[in-house]
Amino acid sequence: MDPTTEQPEILPAAMISRLRALDRAEPIVDPRTDRAVLEAARAYFDGRPAAARARRSRWAVPLGAAAAVLLAAVLMRPLVFQPLADDVDGSGSVDVLDVLALARMRAAAGDASGVTEARIEELAYRIVALDSARRVP
């Protein structure tokens, strides 16, 4: 027996029509209520201090941008900020102490160090160069 066809045959017609009426979608909120809620919300937000709203919008974008830049810098650092080849002693700057480090490496191990006299001289002359094109970055 088919259950979908069974009920109409059993239930009275009046009950069926009332049940069908219950199934119909009825508006829970009528347009007037909806409009009233909207107006109340607008009135509430318009009544808030302007400075509070402005502060949030003023700082949200710069802080977000700064956070994004910081994150990008941290992620890209190994790719972009390669340690300088001339910064032999790892001090963060290239100066005569790097030349001395190269000279000591050569003095200790000779040609096996991979450091040539020419390399030492070249770096030494670059650290004293006044011309920006020849200067150590």
Binding site: V96, L97, V99, L100, Y125, I127, V128, A129, L130, R134
Partner: protein
């Protein structure tokens, strides 16, 4: 009358010529001096790098010598290209020694002498900056830099 006018014109021309010659023929005043650079450090100095500037831009460097320690290079490293262009109102000098710490000097050590030709009568206005100084094992030193000048002629 004509003769008098001719004489006046001649006198005027001679005066003008004399005035022009007196203003253009004066040689620019200049003098030679030496600038001695000293590093003051409690620990022996094995490497140093200094920058010397003359703020008026009247300095022309004509020679550079190493200091008192003969184990350092003579002369120190400097920009030879800039020297040949005579544009040396600023110069960077550097040198190092591979001697043991026991052989290196400490205290007030003369590290270099710069021979300078100054133009103009005003006194020179030098600025010297110690860029870096280090020990025999390559450690940086917090040393002081001082200069002394001596006019040669």
């Amino acid at each position: 009358m004509k003769r008098a006018a001719r004489v006046w014109k001649t006198v005027l021309a001679v005066l003008c010529a004399a005035m022009v010659l007196s203003t253009t023929a004066q040689p620019e005043a200049s003098y030679f001096t030496t600038v001695d650079l000293f590093v003051v450090s409690g620990t022996p100095v094995a490497a140093w790098q200094v920058e010397l500037t003359e703020r008026r831009g009247a300095m022309q460097i004509v020679g550079i010598e190493r200091g008192d320690d003969s184990t350092f290079r003579d002369p120190p490293y400097y920009d030879r290209v800039a020297m040949t262009r005579s544009s040396t109102d600023r110069i960077v000098l550097a040198s190092f020694s591979l001697s043991d710490a026991a052989q290196l000097q400490s205290g007030r050590v003369r590290i270099a002498r710069v021979h300078v030709r100054m133009t103009g009568a005003a006194a020179a206005d030098y600025e010297a900056r110690l860029v870096a100084a280090g020990t025999a094992d390559g450690r940086p030193i917090d040393a002081q830099l001082s200069i002394e000048t001596q006019t040669e002629r």
